[in-house]
Point group: C2
Chain length 331, copies 2
């Protein structure tokens, strides 16, 4: 592969390299006739521009980092999927950055993205986002966060309406005849997690029942602990809301190991709407987040911010997805 630089194309097409450059990146600045000729020649040679060289000169690249705590978590995986899609639809390349919840790594990724002239980045946090920390890196580099942030200021966000989601879950369960409904958090740290829990607490109280938090831990073992807690109770709830699908899986699994059946003995509803839920045993009833939309919107927000400086906060509507893990309470 004879090194294919812009100059060899230029020579082959009989023009100067700046013309080739323009033919690619500013088509309207070149006579259409010439442009087509150049493009044809380039095509023939199998030439593509070097994103590196471009980025270096332009001081802006097409690398966009997606910072997630754990790609193993299907929620982030689905997010990553739709985002890679959305990204390369627009000519970006997604850089997957996995932090394992380590803030130091997050910082590292930020400086790296800075150095690579990333036009912006997407953060799906596992902790409350430190807006100040973000600002430190905000010299021309924008970030959009997939979570709510405190103070509502400089950084665009996209989230789903947690309260509305919990309300949907509660309504569904009430409609089925449940009156005693427990909650397992299993996630903590993000504002979203907080919001879901708060919504549960408030809405339950409002409806006259007493909230019943089976576990508020932040790891996946919350499922196990929640199940144990459930078993110890004199009159356990007839339904359980899990803060997200993964926790719901864990709860059902732990319950199952102890002989409690879902939904026969207790209904369980999750929150996320993972594709995986459809293959669970039983298929999981859940509050579905429009993950695909979130990915696209995150990128749109970032581009919009870059273009006109506007900072939006998009809140999406969740949807109830009824599958097999909920039913009427046992008499």
């Amino acid at each position: 592969m004879p090194d294919l630089s812009i100059d060899v194309v230029a020579k082959a097409a009989g023009v100067h390299r700046s013309t080739v450059s323009r033919a690619f990146s500013r088509p309207e600045a070149v006579k259409s006739e010439t442009r087509e000729h150049i493009l044809r020649v380039a095509e023939g040679l199998g030439y593509t521009m070097s994103p590196l060289a471009q980025a270096l000169r332009r001081k802006t690249s097409t690398f966009i980092p997606l910072i997630v705590p754990d790609i193993t978590n299907p929620f982030f995986a689905e997010l990553a999927k739709t985002m890679t899609q959305a990204a390369d639809e627009r000519g970006y390349q997604l850089l997957l950055c996995v932090t394992n919840g380590d803030p130091a790594k997050t910082d590292g990724y930020f400086t790296a993205m800075q150095a690579m002239y990333a036009p912006f980045g997407i953060v799906a946090p596992s902790t409350k986002v430190d807006t100040e920390a973000l600002k430190r890196f905000d010299f021309g580099h924008k970030v959009v966060v997939i979570d709510r942030v405190e103070g509502d200021d400089a950084v665009p966000t996209v989230t789903v309406d947690s309260r509305r989601g919990i309300m949907l879950a509660l309504d569904h369960l009430h409609g089925l005849g449940h009156t005693s409904i427990g909650y397992v958090s299993g996630i903590a740290g993000t504002h979203t997690a907080q919001d879901r829990m708060d919504a549960y607490l408030e809405l339950t109280a409002q409806s006259g029942s007493t909230p019943l938090v089976l576990d508020s831990g932040s790891d996946l073992d919350a499922g196990t602990r929640g199940a144990e807690h459930y078993l110890e109770m004199d009159s356990p709830p007839t339904a359980i809301i899990a803060a997200n699908d993964m926790v719901a899986f864990a709860v059902i699994s732990a319950l199952g190991q102890r002989g409690v059946r879902v939904p026969e003995d207790v209904s369980v509803i999750g929150f996320d709407g993972l594709a995986l839920g459809a293959r669970f045993n039983p298929a999981l009833t859940t509050i579905q987040q429009p993950i695909a939309d979130m990915g696209h919107i995150a990128i749109e927000l970032a581009e919009k911010q870059n273009a006109d400086g506007s900072v939006d906060h998009i809140v999406l509507e969740p949807q109830l997805l009824v599958r097999g893990s909920t039913s009427g309470p046992r008499k």
Copy 2:
């Protein structure tokens, strides 16, 4: 952030930029005194080298693409996780490339990685790898494949011993007293999938039983179809081997919806050893692949190939992981 180039550091340290360059990338070529001074100054300014500029000049970067068909599949997610880890332990940045099984995209990613001077790439395929296609891009760019390849030649691979895995599963099931054992493929395309199925077929025949393939489709609905097939049988098998964990999940879920219980009515064993399996209902017995090892080894193989041109084919040992989805056959 006053643009921090190598020149400003050079000026600040009172040396030429080439000395700064050497201080970073070839420390032994600079008087230790000078070097330390430079490093100190750089540190003070908060300077880091531009990976872009480096790559452009050196014609080799630290970007390493990981090409997977679907990050939503937990197997690839776990792989991606350990690989990002392994990658940035060695100073690389992993570029996640999701193909959705589209070979055209794979091609696109290859040319992109070529353009970015990636020192090598990792491919976890969803189809039989076309070695020839790889070669087209092999001008200085190496690839390691997470699957077996035909012909065994120029490309390094890492896989687990499929036959051994199936043997482990079969032994476990036999030990439990099962004699009639079915198989659901649910994946197809890769050599690995082929190998697992072949191993099942052979080993079953060898032990005198007749193989019983419930479904050999390649999508996840194989689970559903397999379950239906199972239900239609006069004397269904007492145990089922699924070609991978995801399919096992699907099978158990589909079976559950039709009132068949695992492991009471039928035992199911998966293949992969996903962390998720521990949270399934019931927790999934499975053949565990050493995914973390695979990630590290893949990178090592690539580096080794770059260094001394050697092409290795590593075959790892799978392990039986007994959890709750298998038990003795019902009388």
